[in-house]
């Protein structure tokens, strides 16, 4: 399981900005206990971008919320560790922070942009007031500094600051609101920003524009990014590494090219095949059969085995660990050697 973690440590690499170990999140509902996040571990390094990929309901948003301890009522982190390295080098345990400390941790150290672009801003306050609210909550900047920073960031996300700052959210389009949120996420210069499906509610052209904005910001500013998405090709444009999540577990992690050309988990392979290529044969597209599992009683052994074309008797019995399948590439599949992407993937992005 810890293969890729070990290698990063033995390289003598610097301490990661964010280090998650064996995180377990449960929803306690009337129907039973939902195991939304199961034994998740990963490292996010300075200036690195990780894409977290998976179907709806696989626990990726829950994981994002858990990192900020923003889980809804009824959900709890029951086990694990979230270690965060501050700018001064001090490593803190996010799960041990008290209410006031976690409040200050949010946005100042780790910001999050949510998928509900249309409704993320308070409808009765102007954008400027919400910028100011955000800064004042952390008492970090003067009014003029907030103004100056807001204007600069809004320009960076291709918005007119004078117009947008004086506007109420309903006067802005969905794409503009999401840009405002992106600008706001950078307001306090956090080390980490979580983008939870930031383009989901938007049309295809706006999606593209948002991705371009994020890409430009990544080049100009220094922050680490956790990009949560169900759209692998989209995420790949922004990510250095990709982590695939299934049934609350991270089942494959690797460099973005490695994952794309050489996926070693049948589920990741299925995700790649499910997306139509821009050039290529359409009959190559196939969806993953079956439905995502019930997380109240996840399947025994490998959670994916009921839907897996490679599954054998052993898969239902034995939970696969994260095997080291390549350089900094791990996969939780007993038969990873057999998993091969047959068709030529069309190159995207670069």
């Amino acid at each position: 399981m810890a293969a890729w973690q070990r290698s990063s440590a033995s390289n003598g690499a610097p301490v990661p900005v964010l280090s998650v170990r064996n995180l377990e999140v449960r929803y306690f509902t009337r129907a039973g206990t939902v195991q939304a996040v199961r034994d998740v571990s990963f490292d996010l390094h300075a200036s690195e971008s990780i894409a977290l990929i998976g179907e709806s309901g696989c626990g990726k948003t829950t994981l994002g919320l858990a990192l900020l301890r923003l889980l809804p009522k009824g959900a709890r982190i029951v086990d694990g560790e979230i270690r965060y390295r501050r700018r001064d080098g001090q490593v803190i345990d996010v799960l041990q922070l008290d209410e006031e400390e976690i409040r200050r941790f949010r946005w100042q150290e780790c910001a999050m942009v949510f998928q509900g672009a249309l409704n993320a801003l308070n409808p009765v306050l102007r954008v400027w007031d919400q910028m100011l609210d955000t800064a004042r909550a952390h008492a970090a900047l003067s009014r003029d500094e907030v103004r100056e920073r807001s204007e600069r960031l809004l320009r960076m996300v291709q918005l007119e600051p004078e117009r947008v700052l004086n506007a109420y959210p309903h006067e802005l389009s969905g794409g503009m609101r999401q840009r405002v949120m992106i600008a706001m996420s950078l307001l306090l210069d956090p080390q980490i920003i979580i983008y939870d499906e930031p383009t989901t509610a938007l049309d295809i052209l706006t999606q593209r524009a948002i991705i371009e904005v994020l890409r430009a910001l990544r080049e100009q500013l220094d922050f680490s990014m956790l990009f949560i998405s169900h759209d692998l090709p989209l995420a790949a444009e922004l990510a250095d590494r990709v982590a695939t999540m299934y049934a609350g577990k991270i089942i494959e992690v690797g460099d973005v090219r490695e994952i794309f050309y050489n996926p070693r988990h049948p589920y990741t392979l299925g995700l790649i095949k499910a997306v139509p290529p821009i050039v290529g044969e359409l009959y190559d597209i196939s969806s993953i059969p079956g439905t995502p599992p019930n997380l109240i009683e996840p399947p025994a052994g490998c959670s994916f085995h009921p839907r897996c074309p490679y599954a054998r008797e052993r898969c239902a019995r034995e939970t696969p660990p994260l095997y080291e399948v390549g350089s900094l590439h791990t996969s939780a599949c007993h038969y990873w050697r057999e998993v091969k992407l047959e068709r030529q993937v069309v190159e995207t992005g670069d």
Partner: protein, 361 residues
């Protein structure tokens, strides 16, 4: 086609001006609302006028006949007397009367009281209305403010002990008619237990008190208004609490609240400006309706507590068939409802920027 163009253009100019004026009026949310309110009041005033006069055995005729048969007036004398009291001349055509009535109304002239001759209805209303506005208005304000605060507490501590107790109490008091609460207070706490000096608390202020804006008088006025206010608060606070609770619960689900928490805002700030301010918006329409009924809804309560407000005097007028006073009070009630709705709408547009913009202000 070519020839018709200049001809068609000429009459366009005044038309255009009129249309521009209309569009200015209709684009301005405030102007549109004021226009609607004025129209409503005008319609009610008209309706009151014609109903009183067109009914068989209308109060004016009844009054004239009473004067003739009981006091031996001649018809002309009786008609003159009636004209003076009702502020119109019954011998004139209806439309002329109607015009005179409207003109009197714009001057704030509602005619004379029948029962106490020589007293204009306006002065009757001016004497009693402030007390109703004071007691019922204060009752509504206390009830509303306390209700939204408790409603928010209930929503924040959902399924807690306080939530269960307040929900039960709220639905209980909400379902009891206010006059019953008033009677229970008078009979049980006043007479049976003798905890409240109800006879002393009667009236709008103590006899011998000099009305004025000083502390002693305000304290006295509050003392006398305490029981009506308590009744209004007890019977309406449940509705505010429950409305605010459900509104807060749905606001708490909104994305911007989660985002505000993610932004690290302090809980107090989120509760006030993000949850509270949005949750209270839908209650304003309700508040408007209630504020309008402040004047009309106090009738029985004021009678029970012998509180000299507009409701007290309305019941009195009904008992004594003082038609001009009744007519005046009904108009005032209408005016209050319309004005409160107007005020709430304008206030709402101040509070909710989405309304403000669609109104083009």
């Amino acid at each position: 086609m070519r020839q018709s163009t200049p001809i068609a253009r000429a009459p366009m100019i005044p038309q255009l001006a009129a249309r521009r004026f209309a569009s200015v009026v209709f684009r301005s949310y405030a102007l549109r609302r004021v226009l609607k309110a004025a129209l409503t009041i005008y319609l009610v005033a008209t309706l009151t006028f014609f109903i009183v006069r067109l009914m068989p055995g209308n109060p004016v005729d009844v009054y004239i006949h009473t004067l003739i048969s009981q006091y031996g007036f001649t018809y002309d004398d009786a008609a003159n007397q009636a004209a003076a009291l009702f502020a119109f001349n019954p011998n004139e055509p209806l439309l002329v009367q109607y015009w005179a009535y409207l003109r009197a109304l714009t001057r704030g002239d509602f005619g004379m009281s029948l029962v106490s001759p020589g007293t204009p209805v306006t002065s009757v209303i001016m004497t009693y209305l402030p007390w109703t506005l004071f007691s019922a208005g204060l009752g509504l304000l206390i009830s509303f403010l306390l209700g939204i605060m408790l409603g928010m507490v209930m929503a924040y501590q959902r399924e807690g002990v306080l939530d269960h107790i307040l929900t039960a109490a709220g639905s209980f008091f909400q379902s009891i008619p206010n006059y019953l609460v008033a009677i229970v207070i008078v009979v049980f706490f006043g007479v049976q237990l003798g905890w409240l000096p109800i006879t002393e608390m009667r009236g709008a202020y103590s006899p011998g008190m000099q009305p004025g804006l000083n502390l002693a008088f305000v304290k006295d006025a509050l003392y006398h208004a305490a029981l009506p206010i308590l009744t209004y608060v007890l019977t309406t606070i449940g509705a505010w609490m429950l409305l605010m609770k459900s509104s807060t619960l749905s606001t708490l689900e909104e994305d911007y609240v989660t985002v505000a928490r993610a932004r690290g805002l302090r809980d107090g700030r989120i509760m006030r400006s993000y949850v509270g301010r949005n949750a209270v918006l839908p209650l304003f329409t309700q508040m408007a309706i209630s504020a309008g009924f402040v004047v009309g809804g106090s009738v029985v309560i004021e009678k029970i507590f012998v509180y000299q407000g507009i409701g007290f005097i309305l019941l009195d007028a009904i008992n004594r068939r003082d038609y001009p006073v009744m007519q005046g009070i009904f108009l005032i009630i209408t005016f209050a409802v319309v004005a409160a709705n107007l005020l709430a709408d304008l206030l709402y547009s101040r509070l909710d920027p989405r309304i403000r913009v669609s109104g083009g202000e």
